[in-house]
């Protein structure tokens, strides 16, 4: 048996992969395990790369687990080498350098790849995507080595907004261009987006919505300008494409696994091949609120899926109840949290609260007395109580009027729910 044979092989090195690794080792102390990643970096907190860019977080605090985590859990690492071919029948995966690994069980946790629209000038120097540590390192190095004064970020999603904030913090004249009519359209509702835009403007980030980038202009190979469909031209020495991320399904597709937008998995996170599992941004798992599977590129879901996939791979039988969409993002100092559906279906009941000074805003949508979505902007204190109510799909009719009140607490909830928590052994929401 060649020395590259493992009971478990994990493709990917982010939160889903780490959660799976730890879950497997906890259940199976002896099983041999390998982890493969096309990135050289030790496992790191990817959402923090914008904080590192603008110096808010020192680089050494980026690692997600201690440096020796792989040695402690006896996991062999294959870093900086992408997996190029997967052969489910032969139970093998071949890496870029030709090395072939044989696996008992395999986890696909290869996350997502940034979408790069096919625009003229997109290959110019100074144009970057921003999902990985290397992207951040290259942008930082580019800014330091070139005369950069203006920056344009294409796409005002989660990544776009945080990159724009970072550039503004670095003192660059920053503009973010968004195709839709408002920023963070997936995460917030209209009022939420308005407040987010205001926060960006207060942070000297210019926001242009309902407009698309048609082309990038440059001179001697460096990007110099961005032209919009409105015809206006924005000077820019650095451009970040943040229009979205797509599950990294190429390997799975070529291996003949069931895929849609992401790799399809069942309630045990198994793919169509019983020995191959998938978790994290690459997977398309069940969303209890919408009732059908969809890719969910959010950190907590990735961790949870990784953990459950790991346990199942190690032989225990755990079902994954699905994750609901949720985002917590601080836009230039303005905390925002959204949970569940942000655009409520048809005749949802809406509860809304706006503080006198307009600084904090809450909105909840209820469908037959169950909360299906909530947005908190400004004051997000104890928002998790509502998250708990959404996940448990609890009937809130008896305390509906208390939900939106500022001093929402466990005392506002029925005694049974509270009793159960306060006396119960922990979270069973």
């Amino acid at each position: 048996m060649s020395e590259h044979t493992y009971d478990y092989v994990i493709l990917g090195n982010s939160t889903a992969a780490i959660a799976a690794m730890e879950a497997i080792r906890e259940k199976d102390a002896q099983g041999s395990m390998a982890i493969v990643s096309d990135q050289m970096a030790h496992c790191y907190c990817s959402p923090l790369i914008t904080y590192v860019l603008c110096g808010k977080v020192p680089e050494e605090r980026l690692n997600y687990r201690p440096r020796d985590v792989y040695r402690q859990l006896q996991v062999t690492t294959y870093l900086g080498r992408a997996a190029t071919r997967l052969d489910p029948a032969a139970h093998t995966v071949t890496l870029a350098d030709g090395v072939e690994l044989r696996y008992g069980k395999l986890l696909l946790a290869t996350g997502g790849t940034p979408i790069v629209p096919d625009l003229p000038g997109v290959d110019l120097q100074g144009v970057f995507t921003f999902t990985r540590y290397e992207d951040m390192a290259r942008v930082r190095e580019f800014i330091n080595s070139h005369k950069v004064r203006q920056a344009v970020v294409v796409g005002a999603g989660m990544i776009g907004v945080k990159v724009a904030e970072a550039f503004a913090t670095l003192g660059l004249e920053t503009t973010v261009v968004e195709l839709r009519d408002r920023v963070l359209a997936l995460a917030l509702d209209e009022t939420g987006s308005e407040m987010a835009e205001q926060a960006l403007e207060d942070h000297r980030v210019r926001v242009i919505t309902s407009s698309a980038v048609t082309s990038l202009g440059g001179s001697n190979g460096l990007v110099q300008s961005v032209t919009l469909d409105s015809g206006s031209r924005l000077p820019a020495q650095v451009v970040v494409m943040a229009v979205g991320v797509r599950p990294n399904i190429k390997l799975a597709q070529q291996a003949g696994l069931g895929v849609n937008r992401g790799v399809l998995v069942d309630d045990h996170l198994r793919t169509s091949d019983p020995y191959i599992y998938a978790a994290g941004d690459v997977a398309e798992a069940y969303d209890p609120l919408t009732g059908e599977p969809r890719p969910l590129a959010i950190w907590p879901a990735a961790y949870l899926q990784g953990e459950i996939a790991g346990r199942n791979m190690a032989g225990t039988d755990v079902t994954y109840e699905g994750s609901i969409a949720m985002n917590s993002i601080q836009v230039c100092g303005l905390p925002t949290i959204s949970v569940g559906l942000v655009e409520p279906p048809g005749r949802a009941e809406v509860l809304e609260y706006r503080s006198a000074d307009g600084k904090s805003y809450r909105r909840m949508f209820l469908v037959n007395d169950r909360i299906v979505g909530a947005v908190f902007v400004g004051d997000v204190d104890r928002a998790g109580i509502i998250t708990g109510l959404i996940r448990s799909q609890m009937d809130v009719s008896s305390f509906k009027e208390k939900l939106i009140q500022r001093d929402l607490g466990l005392l506002s909830l029925p005694k049974q729910y509270r009793k159960h928590i306060v006396m119960g052994p922990g979270i069973e929401v």
């Binding site: 907590p300 961790y303 985002n327 917590s328 998790g384 109580i385 005392l411 306060v422 052994p425």
Partner: protein, 144 residues
């Protein structure tokens, strides 16, 4: 693992738990000195909710499958493998409030000036019985 449970029927809303939690984490040796040192007086990790005759004290439940550990993007919220307690590392916290988003008890307190999670219950690790339990005058908080 041992956890702190509140017995609502006998919580008298006196807030001594909060006072002793502050004192325990104040670094001072006398209660009076702790409260004189107003500026760096810590927030209590336990919070008393009161509505008329109903009241009880709530702190982090140190859940077995803690959603806050899953949600934390900075590895600041971790579970201590020995004690099972959920620890919060103030250094690493970036104030993204993901933990606040997922904690179903709303037991995580935000410290807006510092832009980080405020004091979070550490079960008074290394200091014996949690201070809130030890000083509840009516045994409304039990540690088992």
């Amino acid at each position: 693992m041992k956890r702190v449970y509140a017995k609502e029927e006998v919580c008298i809303g006196c807030r001594l738990c909060e006072i002793y939690c502050i004192f325990q984490h104040s670094g001072h040796h006398t209660l009076v000195k702790a409260f004189l040192d107003q500026e760096n007086l810590p927030e209590p990790a336990v919070r008393v909710e009161e509505d008329g005759a109903m009241s009880f004290a709530l702190q982090c439940r140190h859940c077995d499958d803690a959603p806050c550990v899953a949600a934390c993007i900075a590895g600041a919220m971790t579970r201590d493998p020995h004690t099972g307690a959920i620890k919060h590392d103030e250094e690493r916290c970036v104030g993204c409030w993901s933990c606040v988003m997922v904690c179903p008890f709303g037991a995580i307190r935000m410290d807006n000036e510092k832009g980080k999670v405020g004091s979070k219950c550490d079960l008074c690790e290394g200091k014996g019985i949690p201070a809130c339990v030890a000083h509840c005058p009516n045994e409304a908080l039990i540690y088992e």
